[in-house]
Subunit: 268 residues, 2 copies
């Protein structure tokens, strides 16, 4: 399971933004992460064109989804951080349409189909939390489309830095708007549809304006308000404000039925 410094795993921290989890829920999630394995930096975990095998929980480190273009250029599609339970249902596809690679030494737990189905069928609250997490992922993708479609270079950089800080904060891995950021300027460029040269100039400008500090793989946002303004974005799209009350009640009701009929373990 590999809990964080705080004791709670990143996955538990993240899903707790949706609903308070029971001890039993936490146990199930920790078991999901039990078989985690270490991967070195900059290796492919999943390769475009191959058949997907299983989903993963990322417990430590960082990874990215990416696509290579016919001319060899790369587009990074998104970043995966601790607490991300990604592609649970990917076994429904014949082939991957993109690759996934680590960006630093990273620990990942493989989650097989049977496990996914057991959790989703037997644990209403966790199933709802995973659905919510999938909705969040979609929202993150949409925000990226907005950034690439309609924001200039400064807006794109500001948005991405904010997002990474917001997401790390949501899993308790940020200290006062400062995070570990293992990305090179080439990777930022590939994520934002820009050139490394231009990324560099924007970062310089932000530094000179006292908006950020970024050195030796450590990022600190000194002026979140201004950065948000430049980005034209707020963290609302991460939907960290919990389930609607009515839904929370509904889920509790489902859980009580479950407890009544089969106490405290996953169904077969």
């Amino acid at each position: 399971m590999k809990p964080q410094s705080g004791g709670r795993s990143a996955l538990v921290a993240k899903l707790s933004h949706f609903a308070a989890l029971s001890d039993a829920d936490v146990r199930v999630l920790d078991e999901l992460c039990a078989g985690e394995e270490p991967f070195p930096a900059r290796v492919d975990i999943v390769v475009e064109g191959t058949a997907p095998r299983a989903g993963f929980v990322l417990t430590q480190g960082m990874a990215c989804r990416y696509r290579l273009l016919p001319d060899g250029r790369r587009q990074i599609l998104g970043f995966l951080i601790p607490g991300d339970f990604f592609d649970p249902y990917v076994f429904l596809l014949r082939t991957m349409d993109h690759s996934i690679a680590t960006l630093m030494p990273t620990r990942l737990a493989r989650v097989e189909r049977e496990r996914v189905i057991a959790v989703f069928a037997g644990r209403p609250r966790l199933a709802a939390a995973c659905w919510w997490s999938a909705l969040q992922d979609e929202a993150i993708q949409r925000e990226r489309v907005v950034a690439l479609g309609r924001r200039d270079a400064r807006g794109r950089v500001a948005y991405l830095l904010c997002e990474l800080v917001w997401r790390q904060t949501a899993i308790g891995a940020s200290d006062d708007h400062a995070i570990r950021l293992p990305l090179t300027q080439v990777e930022l460029a590939d994520a934002l549809g820009l050139t490394p040269v231009h990324i560099n100039r924007v970062l310089q400008e932000f530094r000179k304006a006292g908006l950020i500090a970024l050195e030796r793989r450590r990022l600190r946002l000194h002026d979140m308000a201004t950065l948000q303004l430049i980005a034209g974005s707020s963290k609302a799209y991460l939907h960290l404000d919990g389930a609607p009350e009515e839904v929370a009640r509904y889920i509790d009701r489902l859980e009580r039925h479950r407890d009544g009929s089969a106490p405290d373990a996953e169904r077969p």
Copy 2:
């Protein structure tokens, strides 16, 4: 339910790309669409900032997801066409982070939470097909990120036109690479992160090169091969090649269990 000319609804046509549906499955899907309602062109179905109410099946017409920026510009996030069962689980969120608007007169069936849960819990094959459809939607989003991040204007336009034709073909709504296309050049621009002026110039170029015909809201791709080359894309990302055999067998097994225990209707 409102079947298409062929007799099958667009939703059934789309999901059949994943797995062959039983008559009972088809009946359930048709019931989902039973309460469809007409909406005029260019009206909001869902508004950013409001609480989501329910998901929808789009049975006729066309709609788009979009975001408005602080400065009034717009980014279109994606297009919804007949057969799209979108946002089934959106009730898990407190507020919408984007809006959805019709682009032409459109028919939509609202799908409430209870209905979603009944179908997903009681119909393994349909549940799997809907999951697959969600994976397809994510892939479509990724393809858009690639287009906006790394393709020039010609590549973006070519990609979008191909995608719309591929998707319409998958629901049986295309005749020889020709489709109804209710989009203005402003809307194409808002979808592709370009200006209407530039969209116009690219379309002119494509017309002069004999690649496309586009007039009076009708699009025909005369040279799909070249367009794909310009787009640097193939339709692989739509995953229209059916479920992996092993998964198909697994789903059949689940269905047989279901039939044994509760014949032929949704569970309560």
